[in-house]
Point group: D3
Chain length 224, copies 6
């Protein structure tokens, strides 16, 4: 199967072993899947965006700083995968397609101001006609409300894109680096190409194969 894995930028902020993601991707490849990895920017991205704001940069430039940090995270993972991954990080969807054609894992960060790396992962999934888009985030899946603000929010096993839009609407913001979970661009692409999306927490990095087989759970997002 063709899989797109989108990993939160916060993964690169946290203490502890980063090699779990490598092992997991190697395992998936060993099972015959093809994998594209999309990395977020995380705390270092926010740090550079803050620095840029003190220097008076506009929103496009601030987004570009965040994009470059996500590309740095992508480069780290690509180099760590050695021969399994294409050794360069694409800077646009067209370039992604060129690298992807080489039969290796392709690791990418952001593409363009105004969109999240989640949007990038949806664009990539659409372009390669992926079987699944797997979103690994800091929470365990999609909740009935933002779990950071609402402790009573419930984890949902399944949600339609329409329901998800309603849930996200209140909390969504568009200042550089602040899109949450799925921005409008991501949503639009998922809907128009009926991409199968699963949202899961970082603790599931080692269980992607089991999730794909339905042996472990994650929130399934149904495009409608």
């Amino acid at each position: 199967m063709k899989l797109v894995i989108k990993i939160t930028g916060k993964f690169f902020d946290m203490e502890g072993d980063k090699s779990s993601l490598l092992s997991s991707i190697k395992e998936l490849i060993g099972l015959g899947h093809r994998v594209a990895l999309v990395t977020g920017g995380g705390g270092i991205a926010r740090r550079y965006i803050d620095l840029g704001r003190t220097l008076g940069l506009n929103e496009a430039s601030l987004d570009l700083l965040g994009i470059w940090v996500s590309r740095l995270n992508a480069l780290l993972m690509a180099m760590a995968m050695q021969d399994l991954a294409y050794p360069k990080v694409p800077e646009s969807l067209e370039q992604f397609m060129e690298f992807w054609a080489h039969g290796k894992v392709t690791v990418t960060g952001g593409f363009q101001p105004g969109q999240s790396t989640a949007a990038v992962s949806a664009l990539v999934a659409e372009a390669i006609s992926a079987d699944y888009l797997l979103i690994i985030t800091t929470v365990d899946g999609v909740y009935s409300a933002d779990p950071k603000r609402n402790p009573n929010a419930k984890l949902l096993p399944k949600v339609t894109t329409l329901e998800l839009k309603n849930i996200l609407e209140s909390s969504q913001s568009v200042r550089a680096g602040t899109y949450e979970l799925l921005d409008p661009m991501a949503m639009k692409i998922i809907e128009r190409s009926k991409i199968k999306v699963m949202v899961m927490g970082l603790s599931k990095i080692g269980s992607i194969d089991r999730i794909l087989k339905g042996e472990e759970t994650a929130t399934i997002v149904e495009p409608v």
Copy 2:
């Protein structure tokens, strides 16, 4: 002033003289403005998208066909401007910024699947901190409803982005090549960077300077 002019792809389908746009841009430059031109795809784009659909291409690939036609229209205009324009068409916002730094008119078509050339024009306007984004389309401005479907729709002298979103909501669709006027990406960028937008018809190509001075009218879109 820094001006971004977005011209409908339909301009390249129509009979009649294309040099009006050239004269107009030359006049604006003569007045000391810097100009970025964004060209849509138009009928030839739709033709290639239809051809691609019969060959089973996915939405990302179909959008790319449309993007390449818009780039062809951009190349035509860039070459026609000779020394006034940078002779290459950028394929991403980062490349646009590089070409723009050369002090010439920069002509661009689409950047990426999933967004209209109107979104491109908003991204460009944000990135160069443009004074105005001028959208030249097939109708005379923003109407109270889609004028193609509703003959009673009234031309609005001014509209907020919030009002415009409500007006467009019903008619918006996201299949390749079908976004109308301003897609969500364009809207988001306009709002977050408070870009001053004016929407006008093709008959106003020769009067841009007068519109900027307020001597002639166009719909003003107010970001809120």
Copy 3:
């Protein structure tokens, strides 16, 4: 065998199914051949050239417009072949060689002003030391005279490059987009590298394998 297939740009103008060419190339690959595809510009190229002429473009710029349309046709075919083709269209022979090294079908349009896509196909055939250059055009092969002007012209089963030059000489013109069949550059390359050329009509798209085996006929051009 290494095969270069040059398809007339008019193929992209015509009504009807474009997938015959795809099936045919897939069949050839299945038989173990490697294939390079060269696409002409056709009617859309002529349309943009006409548009450019009204804007006062010089011959080099007009040729570039035609070249870009042929590249658009190449992109369409490359995307339709999906994993079988390299996903980018080369813009020079050196870039073609780089893409060709990836072991996939490489689809190319024009390279440079002043030469036809037939010249491109000869350059490509020479550079990869192709076994055959197959030219699929709007007529059934080489005739004793231009069949469009001379209804009595006879289809030739075999012709030397010297004879062909004499036949074409009278009708050859060099205004942008008007070279017919094989321009001087194509002829020169074919002669100096003794490239085996076969000219056939669009009805033979499905029979290339049979033509290679000599089970069906096409005009054989003998380099002398």
Copy 4:
């Protein structure tokens, strides 16, 4: 005026001062002209072509070796001109146009197998709508026959492209690196765009301005 100067590759083989060409170009720029310089490959090109032939390279690859040597000569001249020249050597006409837009001297070697650097100079002259193409070669101008073989050949003050074609026809060959003076591609471009050509010897390097003013002589090639 816009001038294209094509200098024989043999200039780079010869003993003696190379700075005459630099001074001459600086003088022309000082007079307000814009200059594009095209450098041939010369003896080093032939040396690499010979080496390549012993290794079994095909004609396209041999031509590429010659092209790369001509680019090396171009790089030498570009670096020697320092701030006056664009510091990179273009590898295609499209790239040439991009570099040329920077307002500096653009120095180029070969573009593509199958054509001489004289053809490159004609393509460049056409693309920039040059006022003159000045060809500096090893003989003093166009003769009534090849002066190397025919000591009685007479230097011609003026010749039409048609006459020149007849004169060259007998001596023209197309093996890599062996085109003489003006190959068919050069001739075709000169004719279709009515480029004004002057052919002169190396001794005229310091007198280009005088030749342009008609104060000194060179063979004028009239496109017909």
Copy 5:
């Protein structure tokens, strides 16, 4: 004058205002100088190198991570300078030369594994024939010994490259990201091209013009 300013990566780690460097460079440009800025990687570079080491990357890959962080710092500064700087960060000396030709400030980070950004600054200074290479580091200049380890080390007003080599020899190490002040590559370039170097502390950012005029002090490194 042509100035190369090399700023320690630690500048980007520190609290407080980054705009002092911007103002200083703008002032220098206002005085008619041309400026190239080279940015180090600093603490974020070390962080990524540490992360890479836990993932088993080799020294070349670790250096590349550091290089990419220094490029991110370069991008931040380039974007903050807006129209004054070329908007792209070069990835090699050849690319630097191309960007430098545009007449703007060119901001660069690292070029290649195995060398420090101080070596980059020396390579850049040599390539543009700079009048001065100004090294802004975390200490006030060159000391008689490493001031971090030896509190009795004395600040030197002048030092030859030979003396400096002897001083640094004991403390020099070559693990990724650990070269101090001037590595052997930097030293070699400075010596062979007799580059005038001045070393100063961060407190001198606002006084570069005064240092150039000799009104304020910094360590002068004399190439021998």
Copy 6:
């Protein structure tokens, strides 16, 4: 095994058959090794450097001329290897890594002013974690002193990098094109990454496999 072979630029100056190196590399590939080839510049490089010096070029530009000749030698070898080699010559280590990922022989010349092609070969060996770096030079291995100047110098079967540094120190010079055997950059990389190096003469081109098996001798350089 992963092998880096560095061949002296003088190989391309000499009379006689160049195909020995091709056969040797093909044999190594047949045995299952992966090969990177690094080519020096040789006499043609020195010729262009001399020419450049008469035109007043600085050291960086002179080095670039030498680098371009080494790239020309690389292109010659890459084209001669046909399908076995990547058809383009990388211009930086990052680009080398991208080409290397294609599974073919990658042929490279110089990367950057200020370092020899021996340094390039060490950088390449480090970046691909090569098993051996094989240096084929004009003498039979490392001697106790420069054999050109000291006829009593003895060929050493084994030498540590420390010993080698001492031996070379006296004869080392840094003017463009004059580094001998291993420059400081090469040495540093070899030491920090403990690269296994063997130095041998041109007569051993056909015996690389035997040397790797210890059946024939070369000087082993031990990194310490």
